[in-house]
Amino acid sequence: MLLVVTYSRGARGTLRNVCRTHEEVVVRRFGRVALLAETEFAAFQALRLREKHGGDVQIERTEPFNEFEAVGASVREAAAAYEARDESALPYAAFAAGSDHPDPEQLRETEL
């Protein structure tokens, strides 16, 4: 999908108008941000917005996140295990310390 982020009041106003006028291209709108459908018409609207507001408009293309492709099993298992922990106040670093789960530093340093 196309992620459109606006960085000024003017650009946000135009985005709002585009979303109101062309509901069919809008997958989701959050205030000054919108997710648009993956069509040329949506791309046209996003580009038009950027023509008008320049650097106040950012367009990114997103793809669904598949944890079975993007990360190894250890990360998926760590997330599941941490959310099932008994002590709700336990920080993840402490949780991982005495276990086989990856430590947070290691996770931070590994790119997807």
Binding site: V5, Y7, S8, R9, R12, R32, G54, G55, D56, Q58
Partner: protein
């Protein structure tokens, strides 16, 4: 309206003076007259534009809203009333914070966003170009090997392979350079966006404070305005929402409750 100072108007025809200056017998473009009122006669080079000059105190902000009264005018009543309250020294609880936000905004510098278009265009197609040449290299390798196994002369094919291999390396280098340039531009863009985001938040806060300050000021002057509106000659007979009244009636009522320093230009029929 305050008991304003004496106003001097110089036109091509001569000079007139008074608290009220009647120019109906002269052919003067009202817009030029308003401009002359708002112009500082002592410092402006345009002061003698067409021989028209008005000597009067400098208008306050409220003059921008109601300083030129004409039947077809549009008045943003809330904004005008807030300016009227300000002209009388009115203050709002939001003023200090508003001043702080304004000065923060004035000091904020936003780095200009880098050119992302050129590096994006440069990256586009580099993958396909590398892939194309890579396939050609693989095919040539296969043909060279097959030719050798069959005992044929492969010198020409080897030259072609060497050429394709060199091209592959060039394409790969170009792709890497293009990607790096794009990443660099995107990093700069992120910095610029961080600053833009800060500015946007400040602007939202300023707008919010301005709205609240205006509401406060309007509330304090609203009753007086409604009384003034009811007293406007030929004014609206029934008013459901006094703040939504259009045209000269609203302007005259706002002018009545404001402390106007500079003269108002009446560009409409007057009933004495």
């Amino acid at each position: 309206m305050s008991h304003g100072a004496v106003v001097t108007v110089r036109t091509g025809a001569g000079r007139r003076e008074g608290r009220v200056v009647d120019l109906r017998d002269e052919d003067i473009d009202p817009e030029r007259l308003v401009a002359a009122v708002r112009r500082d006669a002592r410092t402006s080079r345009e002061a003698n534009d067409g021989g028209l000059a008005v000597d009067c105190p400098t208008p306050r902000t409220v003059h921008e809203h109601v300083g030129w009264v004409r039947p077809s005018m549009r008045v943003r009543v809330r904004t005008a009333l807030a300016a009227a309250a300000r002209s009388r020294g009115g203050e709002a609880p939001q003023d200090d914070e508003l001043a702080a936000v304004r000065s923060e905004l004035a000091e904020l510098t936003v780095p200009s966003s880098p050119d992302l278009r050129t590096p994006r265009e440069r990256v586009a197609g580099t993958d396909a170009a590398v892939e194309r040449v890579r396939e050609r290299v693989a095919a040539l390798r296969g043909r060279v090997r097959a030719g050798r196994e069959a005992g044929r002369d492969v010198a020409e094919l080897e030259d072609e392979l060497a050429e394709a291999t060199r091209e592959l390396s060039e394409r790969e280098t170009e792709r890497a350079a293009a990607r790096e340039a794009l990443e660099r531009a995107e990093r700069l863009a992120r910095e610029s966006r961080d600053a833009r985001e800060r500015r946007r938040r400040l602007e939202d806060r300023r707008a919010n404070l301005e709205r609240r300050a205006r509401a406060h000021l309007v509330e304090r002057i609203r009753e007086e305005y409604e009384t003034a509106l009811a007293a406007v000659p030929d004014g609206p007979e029934r008013v459901d929402d006094p703040l939504a009244v259009e045209g000269s009636a609203a302007a005259l009522a706002v002018g009545r409750v404001a402390d106007l320093r500079a003269p108002v230009v009446l560009d409409c029929p007057i009933r004495k």
